[in-house]
């Protein structure tokens, strides 16, 4: 099985430079966070001495002439998604590891493209040139990822067939494990994959548990992790740019109404319904704004959708004047409603499940809804008799 790893360094900066060519060749810093806790998200190679994760104040003192750019995560995601869509259009299965990092399965596609080398060339050609991806080719996901780190921007690097000498000198930071594990490995004096490969897997398992086995195997070039292709989510998008930054909620709402009219008029939405509406805005001299709204039920009508969005925006308007606004409908379905159960109890249970599912989607986790459960009802200590258990019907 052959895999290719796609690695795009400095994706945020490259996306910003592509959008605003005047930034090319200049020191650019993209910072995120709020107030005094702002840290560098990404920096161009011209911003000397500036590293991602560095406090912004320190970065600006290192590079006094740097241009500070507010982050636009939705745009970076779009750029990366388009690159992955282009690879998928070649017929490949793609697994997204992180923003700017993905794995592609090559096996089975060589014949379509006239050999593996031609396939890799097609892969590089499919990705926009300004992203200058580094491509690594190897027999597993990890080996491909390590090879990508050895590749030059815009070029491919194939891992040698004799893996161990290739891996031995490389740092443990390349392992796909949390930084806490890397710090722990450093604590044991293990800094290279070679040092790690010489450790018995049993000892690693004793220290790191299940992760220890993975560490030992990866350091030996064994990677049994399968490729999990990304799930394609159908979305419909419309956007508009304001001539001047708009801070009045009335104008923003009018813009939203016209964007909803545009998206619902598209052919792909004809006779279909959307469950989620997302608004992304570029805010004047402030970080980008993102708002996700989950409809109570799938909506196929722009008037109903607008009343939900208006209600949400009137309660929490955008944080500042908007320069651009983009509206995306997702979770698109052909179903307009649900068949309700004939029986009252079942209906009640279904309503509860639905309410909980919506809360989970809105809060991005388990909602704080509990039910009282008897734990030790016989206890003489009252506080031990009942407890609150997360509600899951």
């Amino acid at each position: 099985m052959q895999f290719a790893c796609l690695l795009i360094d400095q994706l945020p900066v490259k996306s910003e430079v592509q959008r605003t060519p005047a930034l090319a060749g200049r020191p650019v810093i993209i910072a995120h966070g709020a107030g005094s806790r702002r840290v560098v998200l990404d920096a161009s190679p011209h911003a000397l001495g500036v590293q991602p994760g560095m406090p912004l104040s320190e970065a600006l003192s290192q590079c006094k002439g740097a241009l500070l750019v507010e982050p636009d995560p939705a745009h970076y995601r779009d750029v990366f998604d388009h690159a992955l869509d282009a690879i998928e259009a070649l017929g490949a299965d793609v697994e997204e590891e992180d923003l700017g990092h993905a794995t592609v399965q090559l096996t089975g596609l060589e014949l379509l493209h006239g050999g593996e080398q031609q396939l890799i060339d097609d892969l590089i050609a499919a990705i926009p040139r300004f992203l200058a991806p580094r491509i690594g080719v190897g027999s597993s996901k990890f080996v491909a990822s390590v090879a990508a780190h050895q590749a030059k921007p815009g070029r491919a690097y194939r891992a040698p067939s004799d893996l161990q000498p290739f891996l031995d000198s490389l740092p443990v930071e390349l392992l796909p494990v949390p930084w806490q594990t890397i710090a722990k490995l450093h604590g044991f004096g293990l800094r290279s994959l070679g040092q790690l490969a010489r450790m018995p897997i049993g000892a690693l398992q004793a220290q790191f548990g299940r992760e220890g086995k993975l560490l030992g195997e990866l350091a030996r070039g064994i990677d049994r992790r399968p490729l999990t292709p990304r799930r394609h989510q159908e979305t419909v998008t419309a956007s508009l740019a304001f001539a001047d930054p708009v801070g009045t909620i009335g104008i923003v709402l009018t813009a939203v109404e016209s964007l909803l009219a545009l998206v619902f008029a598209q052919d792909s939405m004809r006779g279909r319904f959307a469950r989620v509406c997302t608004l992304d805005g570029l805010v004047f001299r402030a970080p980008a704004w993102h708002r996700r709204m989950v409809f109570k039920e799938s909506l196929g009508d722009r008037t109903k959708a607008f009343s939900v969005v208006r209600h949400a925006l009137e309660n929490t308007p955008p944080p500042g004047p908007l320069e651009e606004l983009r509206l995306t409908l997702s979770s698109i379905t052909g179903e307009g409603g649900r068949q309700e159960s004939l029986f009252r109890d079942v209906r009640r249970e279904e309503n509860l499940k639905e309410a909980l599912r919506q809360l989970r989607a809105r809060l991005g986790g388990q909602p704080p809804i509990y039910h009282v459960r008897e734990v030790e009802p016989w206890s003489r200590l009252p506080e031990r008799r009942q407890a609150l258990v997360p509600f899951s019907p």
Binding site: P382, E383, Q386, A387
Partner: protein, 100 residues
């Protein structure tokens, strides 16, 4: 006879309920005469105990290093409110148990 569900919920999934709340109680000779019930974060309402309606003692987990020994008092306050208090002999503190 209490019916048991035989299910063991995960400890992390459980949130305690009816936890005793520390309370300032004036109790010369161990007998409650006045309580200071928290009203807001900073203020308390002081009430005199008009009568002790019931009293009972709970001793649990006597086999452990720190056994639980409590003396419960069901008291009637001058405001007409009924409260269940207990004196914890291990911490020598007073607590309020909302549902005893």
């Amino acid at each position: 006879m209490v019916k048991t569900t035989r299910e063991t919920p995960s400890p992390s999934a459980l949130l305690p309920l009816n936890q005793p709340q520390p309370l300032r109680v004036e109790a010369p000779d161990g007998w409650p005469v006045a309580v200071h019930v928290p009203h807001t974060a900073r203020h308390q309402i002081s009430s005199a105990v008009t009568s002790v309606e019931d009293i009972w003692r709970v001793e649990e987990e006597w086999w452990r290093d720190a056994p639980i020994v409590r003396t419960y008092f069901e008291v009637l306050l001058d405001t007409g409110r009924r409260m269940t208090l207990f004196f914890d002999h291990a911490s020598t503190s007073w607590y309020w148990q909302r549902h005893a």
